[in-house]
């Protein structure tokens, strides 16, 4: 059988299929529906310094092959996360990556410091600098290379765990942000977070999302995520984690060929939180059919016409 392990920073994951932030809760909500130990890793909902209610409804609307959300980082806050959730990860059989968001460098740093101060099974941080539906939820970092580098290096100083910066596609030049994160000391980059989108109800003439603009996700954005991952993976040396519209093994293969060392399943979890497991089965079948011995050698293997 093919070797499906992948290495990011100093961690080797049993497989490259992760669950994406905000689409898998804290990993503890549906033990009966999904065997979490089958995943390469799970990434938690963004955790902030203080608990947050999130945005008023409507927070969700469906669009063609996609959906817009504006949850507004609703979460229990780092204190409660560290005291109530983190201990439960002791025996879930799957590495947990904590996604964090903040409105200032201090806030991000405090979250890391608090988490580092306790013993936990959290193996690293995915830093959300790309949330499109909260005014001060990190996006001001994600669109600015200098701020990205500075924030990355401050977090880097505070932890020996994995530091993964999560990039926004809503920028003119994602490569420059990616390079800044790498320069700041990131172990890896995740791409992409959601794309700015809007939807209107023609009957009520109202915006279908409270914050007017929200984040577009799902199959509709798969081509956008693939382009970003390919660009970023050529621009940096650290591993890239591919996200955006992944629903099948075929999609996962496209992302890995484009340059992703691992992938995250987002919106598809809402139809079935076990989607990641069927993706993994598809991926294994693909490797067998194609006689590919390791996932590692597939990474970035896409053949382009021009270079």
């Amino acid at each position: 059988m093919a070797d499906i392990t992948v290495t990011i920073g100093k961690h080797t994951f049993q497989n490259p299929v992760f669950a994406a932030s905000g689409t898998f809760g804290y990993g503890l909500e549906n033990p009966d529906l999904v065997d979490i130990s089958a995943f390469g890793a799970i990434v938690t909902k963004s955790i902030t310094r203080q608990p947050r209610e999130g945005n008023p409804p409507p927070r969700i609307v469906e669009t063609p092959s996609g959906m817009i959300n504006s949850i507004g980082l609703s979460n229990i806050g780092v204190d409660k996360y560290v005291s109530d959730m983190a201990p439960k990860y002791a025996d879930i059989g799957c590495p947990v990556i904590m996604n964090i968001a903040g409105s200032s460098e201090d806030e991000y740093c405090e979250i890391v410091e608090i988490t580092e101060s306790v013993n936990s099974n959290i193996i690293g941080y995915e830093v959300n600098i790309s949330c499109p539906n909260v005014k001060h939820g990190g996006i001001e970092f994600g669109v600015n290379a200098e701020l990205t580098e500075s924030l990355t290096s401050k977090i880097r100083k505070r932890t020996g765990k994995l530091v993964i910066m999560k990039l926004s596609p809503n920028v003119t030049d994602i490569r420059s942000i990616a390079k800044a994160a790498e320069a700041g000391g990131a172990d890896a980059l995740s791409a992409i977070n959601t794309v700015y989108g809007m939807s209107i109800n023609p009957h009520t003439k109202k915006s279908e999302i409270y914050t007017t603009y929200g984040g577009l996700s799902g199959p509709a954005i798969k081509p956008v995520g693939l382009a970003c991952v390919h660009k970023v993976s050529l621009a940096v040396d650290v591993p890239v984690i591919g996200i955006g519209g992944i629903t099948s093994g075929k999609d996962a293969v496209e992302y890995i060929l484009a340059g992703a060392s691992a992938i995250q399943v987002g919106t598809a979890n809402y139809r079935d939180p076990a989607t990641g497991i069927s993706i993994l089965d598809d991926l294994k079948r693909y490797l067998a059919e194609q006689n590919i011995a390791t996932v590692a050698e597939m990474i970035g293997m896409v053949e382009t016409y021009e270079s």
Binding site: N30, P51, R52, E53, P56, P57, S65
Partner: protein, 265 residues
Amino acid sequence: MKVIENTVVKSNTEIASGIWELVADSPKICSEYRGPGQFVSILPIDGWQHPLRRPMSIAAVKKSSLTIIYKIFGDVTSEFSKLQKGDNLNMLGPIGNTFSGWDDSGYDPVLVGGGVGLAPILNLKNTCADNGIAVAVIIGARRGAEHFMDHDPDNGLWLTTDDGSLGAAGTVMPTLEDVIASLPNPRLFACGPEPMLEAVRDFSIAKGIPAELSVESYMACGIELCQGCVIAKPNGQDKKNSYHERYSLVCADGPIYEAKDISFG
């Protein structure tokens, strides 16, 4: 416990203008079912064009048969209406809490339903009947063609239509006032469009009558993952750093709420 089940359609029929009843063989979900008020979330059958499951109240559970009643609203419900006996339909459920107190002999249950809010009300009505509990039922619609039952006040079933074409003319509210006038200890159970729920809510609070409302909200998952399905709670507004005090997740804490515990946009 919630399960995802590939159910098998047993029948799918139009029971009133634009209103369909679908019965599916669904042994796993049926065995987890806990009572009227719960719902399932159904996978669209057109691939990924519509990524989100559609929540639908459970209208009946009989052994391994699960019934839903749905209105053709848009693309996905239109597709559902083409399903034939033997086709598969992927459901997630049962989701949510149940109506409560209807089996408390100190009360006289009054059930109010309208539009697609009919399913859980019918379910509660039939469950009460099975348990020998007398109930009053009021069902509203815009016009007679949307009703599929008979206006039969003598047997505790009142129909209303906005256009007066069947039963009492107007909304359910005047009929509700009439009906409760003769009941010593009414307890309301309502499901329907938001204006109806709001009217029932305000009325029940004003009169001090206990009421349970089944509410709807836009859902991405139905299983506490997305945080999308929130409804505002009138009593939790002011906390600065709080979580789930101002907003409640309908898929986890609902869809049934006491009238005083929710407010409408």
